[in-house]
Symmetry: C2
Subunit: 227 residues, 2 copies
DNA sequence: ACCAATATTCAACACCTGTTGAATTGGACC
DNA sequence: GGTCCAATTCAACAGGTGTTGAATATTGGT
């Protein structure tokens, strides 16, 4: 008979696929493929479900990505804002090191977001742009304040432009997280695991000597993140 | 009659579409869209011809892109190698400034290649990777030599790792060319035209103070490129 | 035991992609 | 004036993309 032979596989699964699991899969695929090349079918495959299910939980691919951003940024912004409070009287180089550590903490597992910040900003605001800017502007503001306070406290040279210094600090940290582990082993004997921390440390040394009022003053001891 | 009604538009045009014109169009589209998103149809549209014509001159999209690289890199590598010759006894900061200027000269009109260098290296060698590495390795080598000579001449701190310093110098220059003009006007009163040179200058000041043996020594006067 | 809401899949749509083979034309040479 | 080659276009292929509407199981409430 040409009966529509009921396929067994539809309907809810025994264990629900909750949206957070979808976000995990999406993050992984965005990380590997980049924002544009990551396909919903690949994300669905990773999550072990049908592409259409993504549309049950999120209204579009873009919405899925925005949800990904909103899962990560607010906490990052909070940490960054706390660090920039003027009541924090620790030496400026130490606070800048903390900035790098916060970056490291929030971005190390998420090349997808890094790629977005790195690349998509360049192309101008294509839909996502304005929202990213909303997230990035306060972050930039916090770091900038640290530099400004550093000048006011006589630790940073007055000639240094806080905004440019912020740009250098933050941009390079993204490059260190992204590119250094891939490139350093190719060109030198350093193992990839150590590359990031070695790079961060060398970077802060150069940047700090570059902006410090007294370049010959030694760096304070920098706390390393717990492995 | 169902005669095949001879279409008028085939055959050679009055003015040939030479491959170089195709490369120009490809460069423009790669620049705007990025390597992956740039379509052959868009390139053909820009060049005013049919997509199939591209396959008459180049064997594939990848070959087209490689031809683009080969049009730019050799001259860049030559300039960079000449700059790194040990007979060049000018002060190290001035030579580093020349490195930035060479970058500026060769890359300022080609965001496509910059995007490639910035992004595609990260994803590892997917076909293009190895060739890019062949072009980039000698470039990195030249800059590194300048730092090493700087140490030998007592201008650069011995503690500085030449390879990491090279990484910082070169990477940041790409960011300055790409991101700074898009971002600075958003966050500060600087006009976009001045952003690149202002950024380059501030960057060299910080980097040089960061790596110099005597951080209090003034920078030599830096020649600006002719506008 | 029924019913409604929820979570899931299937199949298709329209469109875009790199690529190719055949058809066609213009110009150069003899 | 005929012949050949180089340059160009057309039409199609096979595959991938985001997205949607309908069909279908499962679960929880009453």
């Amino acid at each position: 008979m040409p009966s529509p032979l009921p396929s067994r596989s539809r309907g809810p699964k025994p264990t629900k696929v909750d949206p957070d699991h979808l976000l995990d899969a999406a993050q992984a695929v965005f990380a590997e493929e980049g924002l544009r090349a990551a396909s919903l079918r690949a994300i669905a495959r990773r999550a072990g479900c049908d592409p259409a299910l993504i549309y049950y939980h999120f209204s579009s691919k873009e919405a899925l990505f925005l949800a990904l951003l909103n899962r990560r940024f607010p906490a990052l912004l909070r940490d960054m804002a706390r660090l920039a409070e003027p009541t924090d009287l620790r030496p400026t180089p130490l606070r800048l090191w903390e900035v790098l550590l916060i970056y490291h903490r929030y971005f190390k597992d998420d090349p997808g977001i890094r790629a977005l910040i790195r690349g998509e900003i360049v192309r101008g605001a294509e839909g996502l742009g304005h929202l990213i800017e909303d997230q990035i502007r306060p972050m930039v503001g916090s770091i900038r304040q640290i530099f400004e306070q550093g000048i006011a406290r006589g630790e940073v040279r007055p000639g240094v432009q806080p905004l440019l210094a912020t740009f250098f600090l933050a941009k390079m940290q993204l490059e260190i997280l992204d590119v250094l582990p891939a490139v350093l082993p190719l060109l030198m004997e350093l193992p990839p695991e150590g590359a990031v921390l070695t790079g961060m440390r060398a970077w802060l040394e150069i940047l700090w000597r570059g902006v410090a009022l007294d370049a010959s003053a030694p760096l304070p001891t920098l706390p390393y993140p717990q492995a």
